[in-house]
Amino acid sequence: MEPYLCSESIHAMDLNQRFEDYIAADQKIEAKDWMPDQYRKTLIRQISQHAHSEIIGMLPEGNWITRAPSLKRKAILLAKVQDEAGHGLYLYSAAETLGANRDDLMDALIDGRAKYSSIFNYPTLTWADMGAIGWLVDGAAIMNQVPLCKCSYGPYARAMVRVCKEESFHQRQGFQIMLNLSEGTDEQRAMAQDSLNRWWWPSLMMFGPNDESSTHNEQSMRWKIKRFSNDELRQRFVDMTIPQIELLGLTVPDQDLKWNASSGHYEMGAIDWKEFFDVIAGNGPCNKERIAARKKAHRDGEWVREAASAYAQKMNAKASSNQTHAA
């Protein structure tokens, strides 16, 4: 989309004022509206990271599609991972309304320049991980995403409405897997507990660093891109999830977890932020594999994308020469 040239009567000051007024009045900013560069950059960064997370997130679960233990589970998992591709696509589209380009974003991802949710750098070792991911990881994602449906940037907010609508099936199918396992054989129950042990802490880390050490919080909150702090959302997730763990008859892998009756909240033990930053820095168990898989798919697909483009050009040329002849 062309950057638009403003009419002479409108000065930068007015534009900024109008933008601030919109934000203050909870009006959405739309693609072609004037916006501060930093707002645009923040959004492109956040939306593309979000899109990358969906796309990379397909891999750990995709890993189990061919081994799903029943045909029904196979269909559900495949539909779910397919949804992630759809979510990635909605989000890349939203980033494109800001002038970003999907190929550039993809390049940044496979060159290792872009970030994505670090949870997907953990391996999926058992079928129970399909349950834990749907239930905990998607559950945490929903916590993060529901407020984004009201984010100030229109195209992002609308993409998130669609994503959230589809995401609730994801969480339910995950919980159902855990439920079946916890009601199943001893081995299945052990599988469920083992999976919870491995995914609990990384899920809590998904909300990002503690508020005092998060770098992007304040400005994003002011611009209404972000509406709740990391810690607020994390607390909400813990309060909601603990009763579900109890329902499953599983044990929370946090010895320091306490119910605080006066605050009405659970108090959780300390999160190992070193692990979090190690994984972000590229040292998680699967960082390299995930990027390599994405890179391979992109490279292997290049000749196909080129062929389709070449074919389209030929067809267009043919159509326009036909038109010339007809005229």
Binding site: L78, A293, G301, V304
Partner: protein, 252 residues
Amino acid sequence: MTKSQHIDWLLGLADDALILGQRLSEWCGHAPALEEDIALSNIALDLIGQSRAFFAHAGRLEGAGRDEDRLAFFRSDREYRNLLLVELPNGHFGDTIARQFFFDQFALVRYTHLAQQTFDPEVAAIATKALKEVRYHAAHSAEWMLRLGDGTELSKARIQESVERLWPFTGECFEEHATLDAAIASGAMPDRSQAQTTWNEQVEAVLNQASLTKPEGSWSQKGGRDGLHTEHLSYMLAEMQVLPRLHPDAKW
């Protein structure tokens, strides 16, 4: 058609769909474009859905208490009845498209008949629904045959090679086989030579339009309907069946 032939025939229908669906699902997360990833998954989902319907029907007819999962996860490769074509590895995108194209054209002919036949009304119901899906699959694979065949020099060379490599596996769709002969005799399956002619015409039309050459060879690989498969199927089943085999008493 005897009852055991009837069941065998249904399993063939189910196995074709399941094995191809399983193969396509391997693409999930790895396709050439995000949009195509979603398209391939959709086709895989349709196929898995079709297989479930056929398995359920076969299981009921058999009356031995085998449900769809029992049939899918507890039969060995020697008991699988699918065409060799559908179990072949995905290869590159062109290989997958060529395999899909040949199969879709076959499925189109077969389901068109299945939807109309009166020998097995349940199959007719499944086929009526599946036919809509298969028409879409056939359009998808034919479009891609055109794009790859008439795209770049590289894509043309690759897809031509895929067509030739897969060609010997297409004859099995129309082979003479006791179960199928019985199915044809009872009106459950379309007349062999008519079906093959239709298939040939459709395939040739698309290949021509894609400026690809139809292979000359008439040799065809067979054995799938009797459980004699390529080396690939056993690996695929080992992966697919691992959990139910490891935990035979578990429910998922």
